[in-house]
């Protein structure tokens, strides 16, 4: 610990560093702050004012007085919006679980089990990101319809899982490679097979890597708009991005900014929580795997 405290780098002393961090943080989060304060503000702040009033206007946005909860009530009292919220939770959670399962097995295979074409598979997976996702929209929807899962949460889960795979696979493979193979050898000598070793020895050590995969997949599934728009039509299976879009375009030509900001805040909240829980794992998951590649 003393060693680490002495660590002084290009950016100078700790105090200077803390000040710099604070400045950066303010620049990073002021839009998020405005989202929340906008949701708590009187709708008047979203109205073009006469010239003389701008000064008061800015203060009003920064510090809503008094804060108004009515916009949150408006959003949450909408049964459909609540339904979308639950759907999004379902889709993101299942996507997360599925991505962990698929990527753990796949990454372990690429990291430890040599077989013809294993290098190619890893590379091709990463290269799928070169395809603009807009291009996939129609052909993938045709497949979804053909398979009979159109207008379902399943179609979204399968799609989002696939989008999360390449990065997670790369990350987890690097993570597994960073673990000494001797660990599994020992377990296998003790009578556990490969799979036994994977589940009993490797996985417990891989929590950070798995947390990183989970976070990545959850965020991806939670935020996706375009595929959700095309793949689903019924209110039963709509996800939150569509719900917020419907809230925002309620008046067609006029935006109800305060309510939209409330909807935005609510739809960002669950993911903030997930991030707070998972970010440490994300960094540690990458730390182990990142440099070794």
């Amino acid at each position: 610990m003393i060693k680490r405290l002495r660590r002084s780098r290009i950016l100078g002393t700790h105090r200077r560093r803390a000040v710099l961090a604070l400045v950066i943080t303010i620049l990073t989060i002021f839009p998020v702050y405005f989202m929340v304060s906008g949701a708590l503000s009187h709708p008047d702040i979203f109205i073009t004012r006469l010239g003389g009033q701008t000064e008061g206007g800015l203060v009003d946005i920064l510090f809503p007085r008094p804060p108004i909860l009515q916009h949150f009530q408006t959003v949450l009292s909408d049964a459909l919006f609540r339904r979308y919220l639950i759907n999004s939770l379902i889709v993101a959670t299942i996507t997360m679980a599925l991505a962990i399962l698929v990527c753990t097995l796949g990454a372990y295979s690429l990291a430890r089990l040599r077989f013809p074409g294993s290098n190619m598979i890893g590379r091709v997976a990463l290269l799928t990101y070169t395809v603009p996702s807009v291009l996939l929209l129609i052909p993938l929807f045709k497949i979804v319809v053909g398979v009979g899962i159109a207008d379902s949460l399943t179609s979204l889960v399968l799609t989002y899982t696939t989008f999360a795979i390449p990065f997670s696979l790369w990350m987890l493979r690097a993570f597994f490679q960073s673990l000494p193979p001797e660990l599994e050898d020992a377990a296998m000598v003790d009578g556990a097979g490969r799979l036994g070793a994977l589940f009993r020895v490797i996985l417990p050590l891989s929590v950070p890597g798995i947390a990183a995969t989970a976070l990545f997949a959850f965020i991806l599934a939670w935020n996706e708009f375009l595929f959700a728009l095309i793949f689903t039509s019924s209110d039963d299976v709509r996800t939150l991005p569509i719900g917020v879009a419907l809230t925002m375009t309620r008046e067609q030509t006029a935006v109800d900014w305060a309510t939209a900001m409330a909807a935005s805040t609510i739809s960002s909240l669950p993911i903030f929580i997930v991030v707070m829980l998972g970010q440490r794992g994300f960094v540690r998951g990458l730390t182990a795997g990142g440099v070794k590649g």
Binding site: L140, S268, T287
Partner: protein, 299 residues
């Protein structure tokens, strides 16, 4: 010997079995539909001309996009946006990562707060920024007018001279967290002893950065740059929601062209041709990077 061979065999089979779900997912959801669609770039398929059906027309679609000003405008903007955003993200991401790679009070909170832009859904992010940039009631302009810097609000995303710059700011804001997190992970895996040794040798902080940090991060920097480049190059939703390509094409990008050609002009063949062009460009970049990364793992 025979037993060892069969063990190896078993390992191979197990390897294939474990990777099978990945292959199935990627094959069914990406590779098959993409292969089917990119092929369309050599065909004329336009839903507005149902009577013409789908005809093989060779490279006509490519000839058409190459003489279309909108395509070149899209390419130019995509390159400018991608280059500026990735450079900005990497430089700022490095600064944030270096800042957070040392203990100080509240580091955990600061790190969490800095991740927020990544997790704000794109549609929400675009919406917030449209408000922030609003010429009349947007907070940025309210601040500028209040502080006397300007008399009237600046229409940031709706005048040609400032639109692209504003869009780049939003992209950097949104992409920064992922970049700094990955770089931070890289920094944390550099052994502390290396710095200690350098200090004993009297290396300045800059020299430590130049001769220890940067070389250690080489591989991870390459990955960050490539993935951010691919993702930014192919990103559709943020710019679509922010400006829709306007004003007067100042922010139109290739993904927007792919989208509007298919979804608003109903010309699937032409849209596939633009997408094929993008895939070739980005694929070229990626292969370079994968080559680099292989050198790294083999060494």
């Amino acid at each position: 010997m025979g037993v060892r061979l069969s063990l190896r065999r078993r390992e191979q089979l197990l390897g294939l079995a474990l990777i099978a779900p990945t292959v199935i997912f990627i094959g069914a959801v990406v590779i098959y539909p993409v292969a089917a669609t990119l092929g369309l770039s050599f065909f004329s398929e336009n839903l507005l001309r149902p009577e013409r059906g789908t005809q093989f027309i060779g490279i006509d679609n490519f000839a058409r996009i190459f003489r279309d000003d909108l395509f070149w405008m899209g390419l130019k903007n995509t390159v400018v946006l991608t280059a500026a955003a990735v450079i900005g993200e990497v430089v700022l991401g490095m600064i944030v990562a270096l800042t957070l790679n040392a203990p100080f009070r509240g580091r955990g909170v600061i790190r969490t707060l800095n991740i927020l832009p990544w997790v704000v859904p794109s549609f929400v992010a675009a919406f917030i920024w449209i408000w922030l940039f609003h010429p009349q009631f947007g907070p940025i302009n309210q601040f500028l007018v209040w502080s006397g810097i300007v008399d009237q609000g600046i229409p940031w995303i709706s005048q040609g001279s400032t639109a692209m710059g504003s869009v780049i700011v939003v992209y950097i804001w949104k992409g920064l967290p992922w970049t700094f997190l990955v770089l931070l992970a890289g920094l944390q895996s550099i052994p502390e002893e290396w710095y200690e040794a350098a200090k004993v040798d009297g290396a300045s902080p800059w020299q430590q950065f130049r001769y220890i940090t940067l070389p250690s991060l080489r591989y991870i920097l390459v990955i960050v740059i490539v993935l951010r480049t691919i993702w930014t190059f192919n990103n559709f939703d943020l710019v679509y929601l922010l400006t829709g390509g306007g004003p007067a094409r100042a922010t139109v990008t290739l993904p927007l062209n792919v989208y509007s050609t298919a979804f608003l002009q109903y010309d699937f063949g032409l849209s596939a041709a633009i997408a094929a062009f993008m895939v070739v460009v980005v694929l070229g970049l990626s292969i370079v990077v994968l080559k680099l990364s292989r050198i790294e793992t083999e060494s």
